[in-house]
């Protein structure tokens, strides 16, 4: 029987420490919507989304009310759109039309983001993949709720450097195309390596072709809860520190598991995975950076940051895996800059640089995330940054990603406000030495030796 202190503990986590379920994301396969006519394809997509996910938002709200736990986002991910539109899209504008259809559906469903305007081109691009990629700047400008991602490499295939080079240009073009909104389009565009098929978190969510027709994936969160638990054992040894994180992660994840199973039951859609991630928000007390500070760093970026983050990430997984029947997605601590007040403070204090963030991405999910850089940064430099991150992912057999925003018209010393969950960010300096001749090479980087396991 539950006792009073346990009931109070749970409610304190929810009320004072920002415990929430960050997202219920329904993955929907749109493979059966493909058609040689663009009009029919769009009509099929709209109808399928409404029939599969029509009750998602209401069900999420009902679960939230029954258990007294906030479910912050209700979202949808779809089959990479490049595949769905392959037979009917002849020009980039055709893919933009698909994006508009998806945006209308997202609006009607009441979900705040729909992910999967994506192409998976780890080894090479089909003509359809390239058309979709070239449509991204216009699609991001023409829609409100659509998230786009491109997977440019994997441990098994190596890195498609043609796609990397193209994505450097596309990120720049997306920034330019949405410059009136501080290049906001780039906040909804992520370039990945080793992208998982079942990620519930935006902007990289898509419903991979290895998945079933529809699935419920849940992303949990709770950096504030971990921070509070660590405050209670301040100064303790590493064993106590790690055990505390593990136990807290277990409790957080059990809530996610409950919500996922309940959503699956009520919607009649199979449960996929729980994504064990510590996802911060700009709200005070909801910060991964604050955990690092509690572990003993003056600011993230100080020497010791990578070790502290590695420890945190590993303990979250160890606690979470025990608490859930299926784990997947990104599963790890997120270290976005603009979405975490502690990270913003660290950048403003001069403690945190892009290079240190890159090192941190070796030990946690996911990558260089929500980082504002000068608008004048060249497409080649952006491609170089993407290649570096992809190489870290490829060699370490982990997901890595780049979601950087070259803010057109802004430079180091200025800051940019994205609003809401996306937060605000100081523009960070980028290494200005040239990599043009490196990214201009054609072809792909071969898969690393340790990928040959057969």
């Amino acid at each position: 029987m539950i006792n009073l202190s346990e009931a109070i503990e749970t409610n304190k986590m929810i009320q004072d420490e920002n415990l929430d379920v960050r997202t219920i994301t329904m993955g929907v396969s749109l493979l059966d919507c493909a058609d040689s006519s663009l009009e029919t394809c769009c009509a099929n997509i709209y109808a399928k989304l409404l029939s599969c996910a029509g009750r998602l938002v209401k069900t999420g709200e009902a679960i939230s009310r029954d258990f007294g736990i906030p479910i912050v986002n209700k979202r949808v991910s779809i089959t990479p759109a490049a595949i769905v539109g392959a037979s009917c899209c002849k020009r980039p504008e055709d893919y933009v039309e698909i994006a508009r259809t998806l945006d209308r559906a997202a609006c009607e469903l009441g979900v705040n983001f729909l992910g999967g305007f994506s192409a998976v081109v780890a080894k090479g691009m089909t003509p359809a993949d390239e058309l979709l990629i070239r449509s991204i700047p216009e699609a991001m400008a023409a829609t409100e709720r659509i998230c786009s991602s491109v997977n440019v490499g994997s441990t098994k295939t190596g890195i498609d450097m043609d796609a990397v080079r193209l994505m450097g240009e596309i990120v720049k073009a997306t920034a330019e195309r949405t410059k009136d909104a501080d290049s906001l389009g780039c906040a909804k565009l992520v370039v990945l390596c080793n992208a998982p098929d079942d990620n519930p978190f935006m902007a990289g969510a898509f419903h991979g072709v290895s998945e079933g027709d529809a699935v419920i994936n849940v992303g949990v969160s709770g950096p504030g809860v971990v921070k509070y638990a660590l405050e209670q054992v301040r100064g303790a040894d590493f064993e106590t520190l790690c055990e505390t994180i593990k136990k807290t992660a277990f409790k957080i994840t059990r809530v996610g598991q409950l919500v996922a199973q309940e959503a699956s039951k009520r919607l009649g859609v199979p449960f996929g995975i729980i994504d064990l991630s510590l996802a911060p928000t700009p709200a005070v007390g909801d910060s991964v950076a604050d955990i690092l500070k509690e572990i003993g760093l003056a600011h993230p970026g100080a020497p010791g940051t990578t070790a502290a983050l590695a420890l945190l990430n590993d303990q979250v997984k160890k606690g979470g895996v025990m608490a859930s029947s299926y784990v997947g997605g990104l599963s790890g601590a997120f270290i976005p800059v603009s979405e975490d007040q502690g990270m913003i403070d660290a950048v403003e204090a001069g403690a945190l640089t892009i290079e240190k963030l890159e090192a941190m991405t070796c030990v946690c999910s996911v990558g260089l995330d929500m980082i504002a850089i000068p608008g004048a940064t060249s497409a080649a430099t952006i491609a170089g940054i993407i290649a570096d991150e992809a190489a870290i992912g490829m060699v370490n057999q982990k997901t890595t990603a780049v979601r950087i925003i070259p803010v057109i018209g802004k430079d180091v010393g200025e800051s940019v406000e994205f609003g809401g969950l996306l937060g605000h960010a100081p523009v960070m300096p980028v290494n200005s030495f040239d990599c043009e001749r490196f990214v201009a090479r054609r072809g792909r980087i071969p898969a690393p030796i340790h990928s040959f396991k057969n």
Partner: protein, 90 residues
């Protein structure tokens, strides 16, 4: 049986339990267990209840209870028991 857990926390005052119980009785909700403490004027109470026979939908019961809490300057919640059981029991 459909178990739910009611928690009421805040500054102690007269009639917290009386008002909560009256509300539950009106709504056909049976109380299975009560525990409460008052520490330095701070009231904490938990009830385990059976909402199987409730005459109103669960969400309305939770809202009604929250309102009683508001009127008394306290936080009153009614949540399905699974969230606590999942978190604290393997």
């Amino acid at each position: 049986m459909k178990k739910a857990i009611i928690t009421v926390v805040g500054k102690d005052t007269v009639g917290i339990l009386a008002k909560t119980c009256a509300f539950l009785a009106e709504n056909g909700i049976n109380i299975l267990d009560i525990s409460q403490t008052v520490v330095q004027g701070y009231f904490s109470m938990m009830m385990i209840v059976d909402v199987e026979g409730a005459v109103r939908p669960f969400g309305d019961v939770a809202d009604g209870l929250a309102k009683i809490g508001d009127d008394l300057g306290l936080q009153a919640k009614c949540q399905k028991a699974e969230i606590f059981e999942k978190m604290h029991r393997i």
